[in-house]
Symmetry: C2
Subunit: 572 residues, 2 copies
């Protein structure tokens, strides 16, 4: 564990304590997983569709481990003509930046017939996820959950108690293939796939078979699309680990009649607060506690509803089952969630999410560098794209990690993207006055150990009166969420209101419609790290950037991350 | 042109003459093509579907050149997550075995974002084709035609005259994606995609929109699916170049009211014979001459019909237009072809195809080695597979060409597959008594310059009373077609009846239901060459073998064919 990041003050101390403690612990284990990736016909919402599966399953198996353990996943690509790469979402990959699984950033894709072994440590307890990070492949079904238990008796022990635990992985689902979705996005004019056909809970949904065009492809009697059932015993307290890997939708999750106490977010303990329903954005995880204290003679709905977009998808459902209720559906109509366009409701829940008092990691008091990133929808060569400061991101064909470490000139644009925009004059409530953007695969190089602030400023899209929620996910780090606002961010005013006392650490955070979100992180993890909107289509359309830091501290790269672009055919 | 194969007797002389003649020719040109491979929404039969396109087109552009020219095609893979490789069907790749485009045999696949340059000579005139040779990608639309004119005044000048020329490329087409097709074939039980939805002529067909399930996906008014029109002037003679790249179907091609004189097959001149309709198998090309001598006040159908399988697909059509008829459809019903199950009709046309008297290349009088290959349908681990002598072929992940040239042990099974089967006792009219097969990526190594006979023996499939036509295609060579039979091949009897006088040279030949086909070739082209059933699903399911010859004469391999399997990441 000597590879834990060098920190300062409390953080350093905390790390050292954990490090010593983990070193002394005799129980750290290595978990080996052998995965085969293949296309299989699946009917997650009763409608048959090809899905990318792990060992025949979508979602894939849940990885379970204890803090300090090592995970080894050998990924065998049995797709026919398609490559693959798998990202371990929320795992910082300290000392193993080549195992982050981000195609174009940290590795070349894994070819059909090839295998790739991901080896990484899970150094913190919490709820994490994994998913394909190549093209829009995540939407094809390659995703799953990682659950890391706190090391028994360690400093990261949970500051809450419960009797049982359940896990719920949320997703949205289309009957169109990801090829159709991606080709449509890249078409001129854009051919939008439309709202999801279904919302899935643990890979299961329920489409209305009578609405399916192609005969014989929908079968509502398949056990495969039975509603998931979560058993509870009256009087007991349950932890629900909830993750979202939607391609598109912001969701609201509710357990009918059971208020939820939020206790964990993205692997960090939260100052407990109670909600009737939880807003969750793609890339986020939460743990909530519920008490099974309702009438035990019946069952209750788990419900997933679209928010932030006008919903065109039925509620996703599962069943909370008290033993007396058996597996039967509740007698009620599933909750429909809050008003989809109640931005302030969601905003307030974001703001309410702060660090647990006993687990505050204070942020550095100030940043050495600040990036102001204006999130806009633009056009390039007639194609709709997303851009930051008018630059739309494109992945290079040689992974940055290899290109930078080996000095492969010409692998990407050496000019860094802009650090700011005309924040004084840009009207975020109007469509972009000049929708034309440029595209670039340039990246931001950060001084190792420096403190970086990023302010994500949302704005109006190409169409008037439209601004979407963007969940931004940072690889290789957690960041402190210093503040949120609605409206124009003013660097002369708003930083004074940052929460430096107990900001939550997260790896994914929402930028609300017409809003801004400020975050801070320490560039202390040697490697190259993507930072992007977690909406699959948005990153595909350019809504991301990349950071490099401490490259000189990265150990020798494993050969298996190479094989594409300038590393093809033994050239390097 | 010093890389022409060393021949014997007439063949050597012929080669030398051509060689000297071509060297003296000042007009040999190099044709550069820049191709971008991408998915695009296409409606080849009026039904919208994603197709793999070349520069936005499917079929791709026709490559035109003159004998002796060099073709340079730079292939840029703009697919999102999918690799690609392109085979130049019928081009022998003498001296350039790495440009054959056969994934797993001669190259690693081309990754998204990468480019690969194919450079090869077209040393003979004739009608050839190109298509993807990776997974079942050919069926996704990546295919086209290569037309090589005879060098003016050279020894290969055409022994026939005509006033104009048309090209017709035939295909079959499904609305299901190749992913669905392939996943279905690999499923247990097998999920068969069914008969093609349409037959295409030059990439155009016509599906009945009222039979399409998904609303809005069929549009019969799209110019894209208008019937192709071929203009003729009364009294003139036209050469029609006809190629088939069907995934599945044996076809019968007819030009209503216009008998066809067959003059070329697979780039070799045929002793002219007249047919009312032409049987053509996937991978074959023919040239026919027709005289525009019918009533010029109307138009006539070109028709493509399924044979050898019970048809479940409407006739594919195009229009032969006399000027007076404009673009209007003929007043008649399109020809429906011969009885689909008239094997003898097709057999006789195969037998009738022999070399043009002035262009006979006599085969070597005897072979040094004979392979007897029993073609059967089998099962492996519950999956339906095809096998030769009970061995089902699987491609290795490291291309043979690289593995053999660099001595990469363990890249494939070093044990060669069997050379024969129990030909005395095997009853070809019954389903296989033991349907279990093994799979292997072993190959046959041939002595350089040796003469090899291959007898392909067809048999009953897994289901009783079923035997299909298999069109076998050899890479890197033409072979002499020495004989055909229906029934059991007897090596003690049938070779005496071989046609050694004027056998046609071809690169693709049909093995008829319950029949056998005997062919001979000279192992004089240094490289590694696939030999397989050209039905896309059949090769995918194991119906192929591979030959190596003269590997020590292969020049240094270009780095760009590497990057997968044991050549990944600079290991070799």
């Amino acid at each position: 564990m000597a590879s834990l990041p060098a920190g300062v003050g409390w953080r350093l101390l905390s790390s050292l304590v954990l490090c010593l403690w983990l070193s002394a612990a005799a129980h750290a284990a290595t978990h080996h997983h052998e995965w085969e990736i293949s296309y299989q016909f699946k009917s997650p919402d009763c409608v048959r569709k090809l899905a990318v599966t792990i060992n025949g399953q979508s979602p894939g198996p849940t990885i379970r481990a204890t803090q300090g353990d090592t995970i080894v996943v050998r990924v065998n690509n049995s797709l026919l003509t398609e490559n693959v790469a798998i990202h371990w979402h929320g795992i910082r990959q300290i000392g193993t930046p080549w195992a982050d699984g981000t195609e174009g950033v940290t590795q070349c894709p894994i070819l059909p017939g090839d295998a790739f072994t991901y080896t990484f440590a899970v150094d913190r307890p919490g709820t994490y996820m994994y998913h394909a990070h190549y093209g829009m492949q995540r939407s094809a079904g390659l995703y799953g959950m990682i659950i890391v238990a706190a090391a028994p008796g360690g400093p990261d022990a949970e500051p809450f108690a419960y009797d049982g635990e359940h896990a719920v992985l949320l997703n949205d689902w289309w009957h169109d293939s990801v090829y159709e979705q991606a080709a449509g996005l890249a078409s001129v004019p854009m051919r939008w796939v439309g709202e999801p056909h279904s919302l899935l809970l643990n890979g299961r949904g329920r489409f209305n078979c009578s609405a399916v065009a192609a005969e014989g492809t929908c079968n509502a009697t398949l056990p495969e699309c039975d509603a998931p059932v979560f058993d509870v015993v009256p009087g007991k307290t349950y932890r629900f680990r909830i993750g979202s890997l939607t391609s598109l939708c912001a969701l609201n999750f509710e357990i009918e009649g059971h208020p939820m106490t939020v206790v964990e977010a993205d692997g960090h303990y939260v100052k407990p607060f109670v909600v009737n329903n939880l807003n969750i954005y793609s890339g986020e995880t939460y743990s909530v506690l519920i008490k099974a204290n309702q009438d035990p003679s019946r069952n209750y709905w788990l419900a997933s509803n679209v928010v932030s977009r006008k919903p065109g998808t039925p509620t996703g459902t599962a069943i909370l089952s008290y033993a007396a209720g058996g597996r039967s559906p509740p007698p009620t109509t599933p909750p429909t969630g809050p008003a989809w366009n109640d931005t302030m409701y969601r905003f307030q829940q974001s703001v309410a999410t702060v660090a647990h008092p006993a687990h505050v990691e204070p942020p550095p008091p100030r940043a050495g560098r600040t990036l102001l990133l204006l999130n806009t929808q633009n056009k390039i060569d007639g194609r709709v794209r997303w851009a930051l400061n008018n630059v739309s991101f494109k992945l290079p064909h040689t992974p940055y990690l290899v290109a930078l470490k080996r000095g492969l000139l010409g692998a990407f644009d050496q000019r860094p993207p802009p650090e700011t925009y005309e924040h004084q004059s840009y009207n975020i409530y109007d469509p972009p006055p000049n929708p034309n953007a440029t595209s670039s695969d340039g990246l931001y190089r950060l001084a190792f150990g420096s403190v970086v602030d990023v302010v994500l400023q949302n704005a109006n899209m190409l169409a008037a009166n439209n601004s979407e929620t963007h969940p931004w996910h940072l690889h290789g780090h957690d960041f402190w969420v210093l503040g949120y606002g609605i409206g124009r961010f003013d660097p002369a005013v708003h930083p004074a209101s940052y929460n430096l006392k107990d900001p939550i650490l997260k790896n994914t955070v929402a930028v609300h419609p017409y809003g801004w979100t400020a975050l801070r992180f320490k560039a202390d993890n040697p490697g190259v790290w993507a930072f992007h909107c977690h909406i699959e289509a948005h990153f595909f359309m350019g809504m991301g950037i990349v950071f490099e830091e401490g490259l000189e501290r990265v150990a020798e790269l494993p050969g298996e991350i190479m094989g594409c672009g300038k590393t093809k055919g033994g050239r390097h």
